[in-house]
Chain length 297, copies 2
């Protein structure tokens, strides 16, 4: 990782952490246990890949950093809610997340359900509490984008397809279709929402940026599948080897490790090709891309 | 029920049903089973009290009827998501809702979880797809209001307090605190969002309207508790006597039937007193109030 990127990333992560900390209800506010569980689930963990993408896209579009922070934090809240619900016994039934007991293990199942529900609401609250754009219509469009990306034709829909695919043999296009929804939709939202906070880009450039984000979303998932096979539970902070154990189709199970690595490389090349059209302004997005593809956890 | 109100209500309910039908994803759109379950949970059932309140408040504020329909439908989607999640085995574990098997019984538990999650997203999507107000900042404020009302300091928080109160003896203020969150927040959002679609009211009038909605929310809950004790499962379309069986504190268990009826009457009087300050323009809100307090299911 480039040292300059490392310090930039640390700075952005501190900003997003402060933003999340500030907007999560305090534990002295009723219902205290629910608020405690929300803070437990959100704070002090996670790679925060989505906020980093929002920041980097915001830099490209000339966004105010405070606004890009809020956009990234809202997307992260949706992401965390999905993890809390995915970990529930009726879903993946997982006990370890971000190196800690999952929410329903640490608290209880009804609390974890309400934590997820409340975090989703909080994301939309956060996204509308501050004027993030010069034109408020653009901000309404950001809310709509995030809602669509989170819903049944986005992330939650991808989760449904995922559940339905357990024990099945998927073709590569079917697997891709699933991941474009399950992981891709929110990665794209992170990039687009960050960029919408600024006003330096035209609609053609937004289309390019969305294509970049689509490649990134898939690359992220391919790498995730490789890590799930190769990394240890300790390094990941979540249960390793879970996909194989749950008989879930992955890029590794369909392509094998070698070809999966090649696919990740190709997707990175394609993403970089798009970024090159933006010139040096896209440096941060390129660095976040490299970070995502080269990460080891 | 006033015959004029009956025909007005039927007309509004047809509008909200068409709006919900149109905005719920089709079952031929992937993931088909999830979309089927979403439609099953939302369409063709429910009293639609919240949309009726949005319509009536919209009439008071001079709102475009299409816009009040959308506001009411968005609030109803949040309400339905909460029912689907509340019925889950880890929560109330109920099998009957709106006269039909609950979502997790008809489909399965993971699907019901994702149905609730997706309906919440859809509510915010619906609320931002159309220009509902002349000033887009007002629409952003509507989104923020709904998100807050749905979240941990509103409906979901009330649900957490409710879970925590099982088997406990609550004081009347504690019970009221719970219901102001659990039912009240969304009833208030229905009234305020409907009214925000128009521009005939000033902020003082919004405060009055919010006070009216707060009384209505509590009256609604008191009546619900009375019906849970007195009505049959067939009439309610949901399991009757559930609160007592689950050892949950209710207005009836704390006050007894007679005093609970008196409280409902008082709350109605207070609500009517507020409405009188608006004059004849508040006729519909008065009729919806009467409908809510006199309902038998």
């Amino acid at each position: 990782m480039h040292p300059d990127f490392q310090s930039w990333a640390s700075e952005q992560l501190a900003l997003v952490e402060t933003c999340l900390e500030k907007h999560l209800p305090e534990t002295n506010c009723a219902p205290a246990r629910l608020h405690d569980a929300m803070r437990y689930s959100v704070l002090g963990g996670g790679k925060r890949v989505r906020p980093l993408l929002s920041f980097a896209a915001g830099e490209l579009s000339g966004a105010d950093k405070t606004h890009a922070t809020i956009a990234g934090a809202a997307v992260e809240l949706i992401h965390v809610y999905s993890l809390v619900h995915d970990d529930l016994p009726c879903m993946d039934n997982d006990t370890l997340r971000r190196g800690k007991p999952t929410c329903h293990v640490r608290y209880d199942e009804p609390t974890a359900l309400l934590v997820g529900d409340s975090l989703q609401s909080l994301a939309f609250q956060l996204l509308t509490e501050t004027n993030l754009t010069e034109d408020p219509h653009v901000q309404l469009e950001m809310v709509r984008h995030l809602a669509f990306a989170a819903g049944s034709r986005g992330m939650a829909g991808g989760q449904a397809i995922d559940l339905d695919s357990v024990g099945k043999t998927l073709s590569l296009p079917e697997l891709e279709f699933m991941h474009i929804h399950k992981t891709g939709a929110l990665i794209r939202a992170a990039v687009i929402l960050g960029a919408r906070c600024g006003n330096r880009l035209d609609e053609t450039q937004f289309k390019l940026l969305d294509h970049f984000a689509k490649c990134m979303g898939l690359a992220f998932q391919v790498i995730d599948d490789i890590l799930d096979t190769e990394a240890t539970t300790a390094a990941l902070g979540k249960t390793a080897g879970k996909d194989a154990e749950n008989n879930k189709p992955t890029y590794v199970s369909i392509l094998g490790i070698k070809q999966a690595r090649e696919l990740a490389h190709e997707l990175r090349q394609e993403a970089t090709g798009v970024l090159n059209q933006f010139g040096s302004e896209a440096l941060r997005l390129q660095q976040v891309t490299d970070f995502i593809v080269q990460r080891e956890f």
